[in-house]
């Protein structure tokens, strides 16, 4: 009897199978290697992989359906606060994750539909501005809904949030497995990795389905897509709502992993960062998006460890703090990629042709 994974591997061309096995091994070994540098590195790894998840969620909206969502992080916030409120001492609720996560996803999805339904029948740019506004509104509410009834605890945020727990198995504490101590962040790494694999599969399968074809058709010629009977508004709404749900799930995991949420974590710049990941990597191309997410997620660390000492060496003081440099780099990345490499760093072969063609073709 062959295991299905083994069966799948054996059917692949030899070098692909080799890549899959080594890639898998590296991914599995990564948190242990990072641990050598300290717990902080494992946390950075966790965040990076969470961003991969987020970026792949946004990829459905931006990459597949071609809709510009500038408030993606608002859905992430909805998911995070759902978790925070339903599993923390704040309300004294401690619901299990398999209850909260779907609620968070559904709530995010609901917000997505409420925003998308009026906007998606219009030209695409309206969606951009509406989502942009929504991102700010959510933050205003999170900041202010602490009085007269304290719902969100305002700018202080919510603390002591429950971790992901499976019965007695908590993802936040240390566990002894085979004589090796697995730390909390390491366990979250594997949880997030599993989720990422899942979202990669979902992305891939959607892209190569009736739904994915309809999205591509809409992206290329909306009028022709309507003429062959595609309900373009519903299909766009579907993509938008799906993206929102993934944002909601990611937010829930984020809240559980950090144990703390506050409105500050959900600012516009986070939305821009996830968008930059999708754009930089290559809209619609799954490996490209993953690359973009990893690159931009580790960028702040690279800046902190690279640019600060460099500035000190060169000018004797820190002229530009790494935080603003990071934002500047996001902005520049968006502008430069759109100008010189609209297909992204690692585009899909078709998308590359499309964007290059768009340059010559359209008036």
């Amino acid at each position: 009897m062959r295991h299905p994974v083994l069966h799948w591997l054996l059917r692949l061309p030899r070098h692909t199978a080799f890549l899959a096995v080594t890639g898998g091994a590296i991914l599995l070994a990564l948190p242990f290697v990072a641990m050598l540098g300290g717990q902080a590195w494992v946390r950075i790894l966790d965040l990076a992989i969470l961003y991969v998840f987020l970026a792949l969620g946004l990829n459905i909206v931006v990459g597949f359906a071609g809709l510009l969502d500038l408030g993606y992080i608002a859905f992430y916030a909805v998911g995070a606060y759902t978790w925070a409120l339903l599993a923390s001492p704040h309300f004294g609720l401690h619901l299990p994750f398999w209850v909260i996560l779907p609620i968070g996803a559904l709530l995010a999805c609901l917000f997505g539909v409420l925003l998308g339904a009026p906007t998606l029948r219009l030209r695409g740019d309206y969606l951009a501005i509406v989502t942009l506004g929504f991102g700010e509104i959510i933050r205003i509410f999170l900041n202010n809904l602490n009085a007269p009834v304290n719902i969100t605890n305002g700018p202080q945020g919510i603390t002591l949030i429950d971790p992901v727990k499976l019965g007695a198995f908590s993802f936040s504490s240390r566990t002894e497995i085979f004589g090796y101590t697995l730390t909390g962040p390491q366990k979250y790494y594997f949880l997030l990795l599993a989720l990422c694999v899942l979202v990669v599969i979902i992305n891939y399968r959607l892209q190569h389905s009736r739904i994915g074809r309809a999205w591509q058709a809409i992206r290329e010629d909306e009028v022709a897509a309507k003429a062959v009977g595609i309900n373009t508004r519903n299909m766009k709404l579907l993509a938008f709502a799906m993206g929102a749900s993934f944002g909601g799930i990611a937010g829930g995991i984020y809240a559980a992993m950090q144990g703390f949420v506050s409105p500050e974590s959900f600012s516009l710049i986070e939305s821009i960062m996830v968008l930059a990941m999708v754009v930089l990597g290559g809209m619609g191309h799954i490996p490209g998006v993953i690359l973009g997410a990893v690159l931009l997620a580790i960028l702040p660390e690279a800046l902190r460890f690279g640019v600060v000492p460099m500035q000190q060496a060169l000018f004797g003081k820190v002229l530009v703090d790494p935080e603003s440099l990071r934002m500047l780099i996001f902005g520049l990345a968006l502008v430069l990629v759109m100008r010189f490499r609209p297909q992204g760093l690692w585009p899909s072969p078709e998308r590359k042709r499309e964007l290059l063609a768009g340059r010559e073709g359209r008036a």
Binding site: A128, I129, L275, V335, R339
Partner: protein, 307 residues
Amino acid sequence: METFLQQLINGIVQGSMYALVALGYTMVYGIMGLINFAHGEVVMIGTMVAITVLGLLAALGVPMGLAAVLALLAAMLACMGLGWSLERIAYRPLRNAPRLTPLITAIGMSIILQNLAMMIWSRNYLSFPPIIEKVSYEVAGAHFSNVQVLIVVLAALSMAGLLLLIYRTRLGMAMRATSQNLPVARLMGVNVNRVIAAAFIIGSAMGALAGFMVGAYYEIAHYQMGFMLGLKAFTAAVLGGIGNLGGAMLGGLLLGIIEALGAGYIGDLTGGFLGSHYQDIFAFVVLIGVLMFRPSGLFGEKTGERA
């Protein structure tokens, strides 16, 4: 009733500033179908330049009145240059690209400008020096100041000037033609590049004026102030019917009034549940409402649903 009148006055003042900024969005959108997300940042930079110039001139002992005029001119020149460069460097190379491309670029430019401004003018709140001696008047229990009157009058004058430019000059005619139909305008010999550049430059000049007013009115400035201001001004443009100059002006006024009245009464309306710090959500509610029920705006033609 006092609240009503007071908030109405505040709304009109705020609304005239929205209207000035909204003009920049609506002109660019009308001509090339682009939401110039960076416009709010252009306005912010106008405020910042004005603050810097005012500070310099004050240090040189230039009298305040002259300094204010020079600072306004400097802010306008700086913004016109910025608007022109934005178009030239960032948007023009993308003119034939797929729709998403210039939008993403605009977002990128907005982020870049914000952070450059932060590096230049710091991440702190800056105070805008008082330009004229503030005098308050009272009518029927509502207060208003000479600064407010000046803002409304100046805004009205400059908008009248803009309308004259658009409806009485050759450039204005070319702009209107281009916004009707760009390819045809080009065929008829309109220099489309020049028209688009003009839209950016004029819009930025209006934006600089608005930025100056916002600074003078609130006496404070911050590198992130352009974001919300831009979002609201865009809402005003959509409310009035995007692409429609008169619509942007009325939309701005209306939005200012809605917001002021909303902030004045939100506590009563929600039984004290929501307070005036929710003021910012009104613009958003208006935006969603307009898009849902009348996407072409209050004064626009029915063109919003082009695929």
